[in-house]
């Protein structure tokens, strides 16, 4: 079979699994997860086959796997959908397939498959004593649909199909963040995520429409691989702020990325999205959704950078992109410093790392952005799944410790009091953990690998190579502000990563729950191991050639660089960025360990005192939630409730309706009382009837029934007529 055909088939198994689970097999947990994981496995196999075909094809950038069909006739032309596997989509496909498969397998263990259903568990709430998830089959249906959306997006050869996949993922993120819809916070988070990303999507749709009206096509190759189109777009004025058409379109499309990849100022939804089950967090944060945003930005790199050449000053659009990326990277990493929830730290770290990639796109470091996208997907999926494993272990520990405590002193306090005492232990709060390295060795080792990759631990980890490449690019091309911001963010990243590892795994257990925690099942730890391998090995494909003196070619650079019309040059070697990235990584890790290695049970964060007011600000996330609440949510509510509902709807529209109704009523009663009743009823209806009745009564007397009387009458009339004819007339 040709790679084109195989590529068409890649997204199909998950959508079929989704349909079959929803329609037929949702009553059987075993069948549902077998279907979902099996379908993902088939997709993974297809994706790997296509990936292998792609990397063994020379000059793939010039001759990608592409095929398309007419889809939507629109006037003269028809919108075409199709598939395109060029180097960029090939590597994206690679990591998406791997991470999705790992997450699917992990979900089986995470949702306690094989345990009996706890009768106290309710659908829409997380199982609280380790029973199987009540909506187990539904979960697998949703993540199958999610995987379908992402795979569609990746293999698409045009913006329209990409947008379709994009929106399917938007829907799935909504459904999955609110998977435990019984929790109020989850309900709010799902709406928040959906609406916030919608803001970005509206602008993105505007960008798509503008692009289509300007070029008449939405196909990547025809726009991005076409010097003429790019040139004419870069020359054409847009009429807005003196930007070129390419600049404005790029900016609009980039706003879609800002929403989907949770860049400042639309970053607020992502930390709240932690309300979903942990595999979902991994799915959204690593494998699919936010990566889709960056993938999109990288994909549209030629358009974003239209009118810019290597070594020239950045265009307005690129400046905006670089600023937002770098600012987000630093901004989110500072917030991560003060979070207590293990998943929230990772959420802000995701925002921060995505900022890195966006900044890399902004400064023209195309390959570096794609590289970091890949490595980040692996180690962030690993970290999320690892944190899920930790939370899982903690919850088991929580259940076990409360049982033990209840048995130890049955008479005196009673189970209710014990339950009370343990109800406040948050299984996600890192300050309740500690010492888990002994209880959960596999999770510990893989988490450390993921964390070190995130921190950019030199030489060994994938994160180092990709992050270093971004920093090197920023430095050698003279974008010092971006370089310094990103370096500061890297320092903070290493710091909060080590803080997380130290608080969670090192030291002594700080609660009973941590003391009783235990390792998760194999379906959870095996995906961790697989992802850990990639978190290390994925970096080796992109080692700069200057390091090895050209003996080992930088495969990633030459492969992915082929996606562009002109191969971007690799950044020349320089000691400054290398030393910086090694320094901030090791320094941050060391600092984090030093500060947090001895945190006693119940003690506050050691960073709270020295940072003081700043810590509170960070803990409150700079008050962005409150600000948006004040600036957008409340006005929207006010607008809806007071203005739209009370004033416009109840006041004006209902008022008009009521006035019309009242006038009609009044008119009706006038007609009734002054026309219908007297004229129609009285005069015409009853009048005619009573006249006829009266006449009938009067004339009734004539009809005696006696023939003789009739004859007399006839005789009289005849007499009169005869006398008229005989006497009067002649």
């Amino acid at each position: 079979m040709t790679p084109e055909l195989l590529t068409w088939l890649i997204p199909l198994p998950p959508i079929l699994a989704f349909a079959v689970i929803v329609l037929l097999t949702h009553r059987s947990n075993r069948l549902s997860h077998t279907l979902a994981v099996g379908a993902m496995f088939v997709s993974w196999g297809l994706a790997m086959t296509v990936f292998w075909a792609a990397i063994t094809t020379p000059e793939l950038g010039q001759r990608p796997f592409a095929s398309s069909i007419d889809w939507l006739p629109s006037g003269v032309e028809a919108l075409r959908i199709g598939i395109l596997i060029d180097p960029l989509s090939a590597i994206t496909l690679f990591f998406v397939a791997w991470t999705c498969l790992a997450i699917f397998v992990y979900s089986i263990g995470y949702h306690n498959y094989g345990k009996p259903r706890d009768p106290a568990d309710r659908a829409g709430l997380p199982p609280h004593k380790g029973g199987i998830e009540p909506m187990y089959a539904r979960f697998f249906a949703f993540i199958s649909l999610f995987a379908f959306g992402m795979l569609t997006l990746v293999i698409s050869d045009n913006l329209l199909l990409l947008f379709v996949g994009w929106e399917i993922m938007g829907l799935c993120s909504y459904l999955l963040i609110g998977f435990w819809y019984g929790k109020d916070s989850a309900k709010k988070a799902m709406v928040k995520a959906f609406i916030t990303t919608r803001v970005g999507d509206v602008f993105m749709l505007l960008g798509i429409a503008y692009l289509y009206s300007a070029t008449g096509t939405l196909n990547y190759r025809e726009i991005l691989f076409n010097e003429e189109v790019l040139h004419s777009l870069a020359e054409a004025p847009s009429g807005v702020l003196g930007m070129s058409a390419a600049g404005l379109i790029g900016l609009l499309l980039f706003l879609g990325t800002v929403g989907k990849s949770a860049q400042w100022p639309l970053h607020v939804w992502l930390p709240d999205a932690m309300e979903g089950p942990t595999p979902v967090s991994a799915m959204i944060h690593a494998a699919t959704m936010v990566s889709a945003g960056v993938y999109f930005a990288v994909r549209f790199f030629p358009l974003l950078t239209a009118g810019w050449a290597e070594g020239e000053p950045l265009t307005v659009t690129m400046r905006v992109v670089a600023f937002i990326g770098a600012f987000t990277a630093l901004f989110a990493s500072t917030i991560a410093l003060a979070q207590r929830d293990i998943k929230r730290v990772l959420a802000y770290s995701t925002i921060s790392q995505l900022g890195y990639m966006v900044a890399a796109v902004g400064i023209g470091a195309y390959v570096a952005a794609a590289f970091h996208l890949v490595t980040h997907a692996f180690f962030k999926a690993l970290l999320f799944l690892g944190s899920g494993s930790v939370i899982h272990g903690m919850q088991h520990g929580l259940a076990a410790s409360s049982k033990n405590a209840a048995q130890a002193m049955p008479g005196r306090e009673g189970p209710a009091g014990v339950h009370e005492a343990h109800a406040h232990v948050d299984a996600q709060d890192m300050f309740n953990m500690g010492g888990l390295r002994r209880k959960m060795p596999r999770t510990f080792v893989t988490f450390v690998i993921g964390g070190f990759a995130l921190a950019g631990f030199p030489l060994l980890t994938a994160g180092f190579w990709s992050k270093d490449e971004i920093l090197a690019d920023a430095f050698t091309n003279g974008h010092l502000a971006v370089f310094l911001t990103l370096a500061a963010a890297a320092l903070l990243t290493a710091f909060y990563t080590m803080r997380q590892i130290t608080l969670t795994f090192l030291g002594e257990p700080r609660t009973e729950a941590a003391r009783h925690a235990h390792e998760s099942t194999a379906t959870m730890t095996v995906p961790l191991l697989v992802l850990a391998v990639f978190s290390v090995a994925a970096g080796w494909v992109g080692i700069p050639e200057s390091w090895t003196g050209g003996r080992v070619p930088n495969w990633f650079h030459s492969f992915v660089g082929g996606t562009l019309l002109e191969h971007p040059p690799a950044a020349p070697f320089h000691w400054a960025p290398l030393l910086t990235s090694v320094g901030v990584s090791l320094g941050g890790l060391l600092l984090g360990w030093l500060v947090y290695r001895r945190v006693a049970a119940g003690a506050p964060d050691p960073a709270r005192k020295p940072l003081g007011f700043v810590y509170t600000v960070l803990e409150r996330k700079y008050g962005f939630d409150e600000f948006y609440d004040w600036a957008f949510v409340r006005p929207a509510y006010w607008f809806a409730e007071t203005f739209s509902y009370l004033w416009i709807d109840r006041g004006v529209i209902d008022g008009i309706l009521h006035a019309v109704a009242r006038i009609a009523l009044r008119l009706g009663s006038i007609f009734r009382n002054y026309f219908d009743k007297p004229v129609v009823n009285g005069l015409m209806g009853d009048g005619t009837a009573s006249v006829v009745k009266w006449a009938g009564r009067q004339l009734r007397a004539v009809q005696t029934g006696r023939v003789q009387q009739y004859l007399i009458a006839g005789l009289i009339v005849t007499g009169i007529l005869l006398s008229y004819v005989l006497v009067v007339r002649p």
């Binding site: 029934g705 006696r706 004859l711 007399i712 005789l715």
Partner: protein, 102 residues
């Protein structure tokens, strides 16, 4: 020869007696007899006019014969009806035969 007017006066007298009988009698048989008188008064007229005005034509006699036939059948049907009513209601008074009245 007896002048025509005498016949006419006799016929008019007969007709008036018959008419009076029809209008004033309550007994249905008497009413029928009144009708018979009126018909015969007309016959008298017809024959008288034939003889005095157009003796060459046969029309007057033929008319009179026709009227006899009609009068006979009328009397037969009428008497049969009266008999039938009498059997049903034991009366032949005209105003009491009021089944079809409202």
């Amino acid at each position: 020869m007896i002048p025509l007017s005498w016949f006419l006066i006799l016929a008019a007298a007969l007709f008036s007696i018959g008419l009076y009988g029809v209008l004033a009698r309550r007994n249905a048989v008497a009413i029928l007899m009144g009708i018979e008188l009126m018909l015969n008064a007309v016959n008298l007229n017809l024959v008288a006019f034939w003889r005095y005005v157009a003796p060459g034509s046969i029309a007057g006699q033929a008319f009179a014969v026709m009227v006899f036939a009609v009068a006979a059948s009328e009397a037969a049907v009428g008497l049969a009806l009266i008999l039938s009513i009498y059997r049903q209601r034991s009366t032949v008074a005209a105003e009491e035969i009021n089944l079809l009245k409202w």
